[in-house]
């Protein structure tokens, strides 16, 4: 196959490209320039796509003897990922930019370009397994549960999955990937993984958002509407958050309070007891299936609402254009804007963006 290996400069994508070469494919490496304002040097383990990262990717490609190019997707990235991130926060939701990037850039813009230029698939260092099942290509969790990234790939459709290649999915542990990198003479073998959001290199999401969303003071209220404190900008709060609430009025029961809801229109943040975070139902209409859509409109599955959350057994119902999911055990705080990925065992069925939630606890409790 003609494979386009996306190489970030990290160890995972370098080893993925190496395995693609070993498998006998015709591989070309590409580094995506996503940020025009990117720095030159990588500092610590945050951020991504500095010139140093591009160099690391290039050296890995050199080592593998494959051609290497740098492609500029910074405009698309700004429009589809960064601007979307800002507008979601402005609307009081909690977005996941990595999913948006997979959905719009890595497996869309990049994949489209790859196919236009004659490639059969895009290869990345994601930890996930592709299985050819009876109904076509399936996406499954990786062998290493701790490194499994099937959640962030949950946005991929059947068509996209048909043109992707994840060579790392069956590796028992990440440590083995690093060892393999060292054996192959890749200088990135010990390079730290990047955390946080790639376009906020210093990790200060709150500060970054304050500069762009604007911060205006507002009230923190309890569920009855009484004002119990004030905030300096609603975007700094997310559902389930406990820290950072400087509340002037203690709760009647003396117990800690948690963010239940962010209301951008009134610029208020609603807080309440931990029990009130319990969520009985989540629903949304922005959805996709990682394969064929389910035949039945009601089915059992497991649902995962964050990249590192445990999957929860649940019942999914397709009602109109919405999917409604009721977990067997209530979720502990769900922010609209998050992605819910539905699994059946290790297989990813699909995903939807959570638009609304229903609390398990009535307001006057």
């Amino acid at each position: 196959m003609k494979i386009l290996a996306a190489m970030s400069g990290g160890v995972d994508s370098a080893v993925a490209a190496a395995r693609a070469v070993d498998a006998g494919h015709d591989v070309v490496g590409v580094h995506l320039a996503l940020s025009r304002a990117g720095g030159t040097l990588r500092t610590g383990s945050r951020g991504c796509c500095t010139i140093e990262d591009a160099m690391d990717a290039r050296r890995a490609a050199d080592r593998l003897g494959i051609p290497f190019y740098v492609w500029d997707f910074s405009e698309r990235f700004r429009d589809d990922v960064i601007d979307d991130f800002i507008s979601e926060y402005r609307a009081g939701r909690t977005p996941n930019p990595c999913m948006r990037c997979n959905e719009k850039i890595k497996f869309a813009a990049l994949l489209e370009r790859a196919i236009e230029l004659g490639f059969d698939a895009v290869c990345t260092g994601h930890y996930a397994l592709l299985v050819d099942g009876p109904d076509g290509r399936e996406l499954h969790r990786a062998s290493d549960a701790a490194k499994d990234q099937s959640y962030v790939l949950g946005v991929l459709t059947a068509d996209q999955l048909a043109h992707t290649y994840f060579p790392l999915g069956d590796t028992p542990t990440k440590a083995l990937v690093r060892a393999e990198a060292a054996e192959r003479g890749l200088t990135v073998a010990q390079k730290p993984d990047s955390h946080d959001i790639c376009f906020i290199p210093d990790g200060d999401t709150r500060g970054w958002l304050a500069d762009r969303v604007g911060a205006s003071e507002g009230d923190i209220v309890d569920r009855s509407g009484a004002v119990v404190g004030s905030h300096a900008g609603a975007h700094a709060y997310t559902v389930g958050q406990r820290r950072g609430l400087s509340l002037g009025v203690p709760a009647a029961d003396g117990k800690p309070r948690f963010v239940l809801e962010v209301r951008p229109v009134s610029n208020t943040v609603v807080v309440g007891p931990k029990e009130a975070l319990a969520t009985a139902e989540i629903a949304g209409s922005r959805l996709s299936w990682a394969g064929r859509a389910p035949e039945s409109t009601s089915f059992a599955c497991e649902v995962q609402i964050r990249a590192h959350a445990e999957p929860v057994a649940a019942r999914a119902e397709l009602v109109g254009d919405e999917v409604v999911v009721r977990p067997e055990v209530y979720f502990d705080g769900v922010a609209p804007g998050q992605t819910a990925v539905l699994y059946l065992g290790t297989r990813v069925l699909g995903q939807f963006t959570i638009a609304r939630t229903v609390s398990a606890v009535p307001v006057d409790a």
């Binding site: 070309v28 580094h31 320039a33 010139i51 591009a54 290039r58 051609p67 190019y69 740098v70 492609w71 500029d72 370009r113 236009e116 230029l117 004659g118």
Partner: protein
């Protein structure tokens, strides 16, 4: 073996240059040392200096060996700026200059409060003498490309030089892409007289004429005052301290001489190849448009606008077929930028992203032209299908 159409970026080492370098590198001695071995090295250096002076029509004392075009340009611009008389704070900068020039002037503007006076290019990419003249009065210095390194258009260096002399402004000419391809004559252009203004500096680069990377020179008029970039042993009139690269200078001189000697014949040969290439491109892509002056251009340069296709995509597809082309000057991050030269010629961003720069050189042959023309139709069709961005 790739079919190579990027001689403007760099060109193969000439055998004369390799031989000169190997011979010189066997002579062990620091050209600044007083003793015998030092003199042996010095002798080679000064012969090289004389040879370069002959090739560029200047005095040997006016040749300052540098590490290449970028250093020469920086030395000229910053050197002239730092030695300017009080009250002269403007720099005349035509559009479409090389990045070494643009970035150095930008630095002067940001860090030294230089006032930049831009000069728009003609639609063909030449520096117009009248607009250039109008920008000169009271400026600290002016700079201009002898020939544009992207579209190949040759400007009127004699006219620009006359204007600078009359306007009493020190002028630097960037001959990095022009030397060895067209006639570059420092003293003839500068004219007689001891003024510190008019043509005072001219940059040339070794690896553009078949010498090793890391060689080059700045011609500095004996009448100019220039502050150096490097301070140290005071070599080369104090303008370029540091142990001289004798082998590099010798290789550079050999390459430049060979280029100048064969220049007219080579221009004729490249002219034939150029016309064949352009005819073939037009046959394959009827909408193709040659950018820059059709006649007053560097002999090996074909710069085309290919509507509907992104230059970056064409570069990639042709590269995959073993044909090496360019969309403009090479850059560091590896990302294709829309050509600022094409923009400066009045074209929009879309056009600036849909160009290819094809440059031929000493080793280019008809076979290269045929191979590029064979690969072009499929690459163009695919690039159009992918859509111009």
């Amino acid at each position: 073996m790739a079919v190579y159409f990027d001689h403007a970026a760099t060109t193969p080492l000439r055998p004369e240059a390799r031989d000169a370098w190997l011979a010189a590198v066997e002579v062990v001695g620091n050209a600044s040392s007083v003793h015998g071995p030092g003199q042996d090295a010095r002798r080679i250096l000064e012969q090289a200096r004389e040879d370069v002076a002959g090739a560029l029509d200047c005095d040997p004392i006016e040749v300052v060996f540098t590490s290449g075009g970028t250093e020469s340009i920086n030395l000229a611009l910053k050197g002239l700026w730092w030695s300017r008389p009080a009250g002269h704070d403007a720099v005349v900068l035509p559009d479409g200059e090389h990045h070494a020039t643009m970035d150095a002037v930008e630095w002067l503007s940001a860090s030294e409060r230089a006032v930049v006076r831009p000069v728009a290019l003609t639609p063909d990419g030449a520096v117009p003498v009248d607009a250039f003249t109008a920008a000169l009065p009271g400026a600290a210095l002016a700079t201009a490309l002898v020939a544009n390194n992207e579209v190949g258009t040759v400007s009127d260096a004699a006219g620009l030089t006359r204007a600078a002399a009359e306007g009493e402004v020190p002028l630097h000419l960037d001959a990095v892409g022009a030397a060895g391809s067209i006639d570059v004559r420092f003293s003839a252009w500068r004219g007689p007289g001891a003024a510190r203004t008019g043509l005072v500096a001219l940059s040339v680069s070794g690896h553009k004429v078949g010498a090793p990377v890391g060689t080059g020179a700045l011609v500095v008029s004996r009448h100019a005052t220039l502050s150096p970039l490097l301070h140290g042993g005071g070599q080369q009139r104090g303008l370029r301290s540091g142990t001289p690269d004798v082998a590099g200078a010798s290789a550079f001189a050999a390459a430049l001489q060979a280029s100048v000697r064969g220049r007219d014949a080579e221009a004729a040969r490249l002219g034939i190849l150029r016309r064949r290439l352009l005819d073939g491109i037009r046959a394959a892509v009827p909408a193709a448009e040659l950018l820059g002056d059709e006649d007053r251009r560097l002999p090996g340069n074909v710069h085309v606008h290919l509507p509907g296709a992104a230059g970056e995509t064409l570069l990639f597809l042709l590269d995959q077929e073993g044909v090496a082309v360019s969309t403009g000057s090479a850059c560091q991050a590896g990302i294709a930028e829309p050509s600022h030269v094409v923009r400066a010629m009045g074209r929009d961003e879309r056009a600036a992203r849909s160009v290819l720069r094809l440059t031929m050189g000493r080793t280019s042959t008809e076979v290269d032209v045929e191979r590029l023309l064979a690969a072009l139709p499929a690459a163009y069709a695919r690039a159009v299908a992918a859509g111009a961005r």
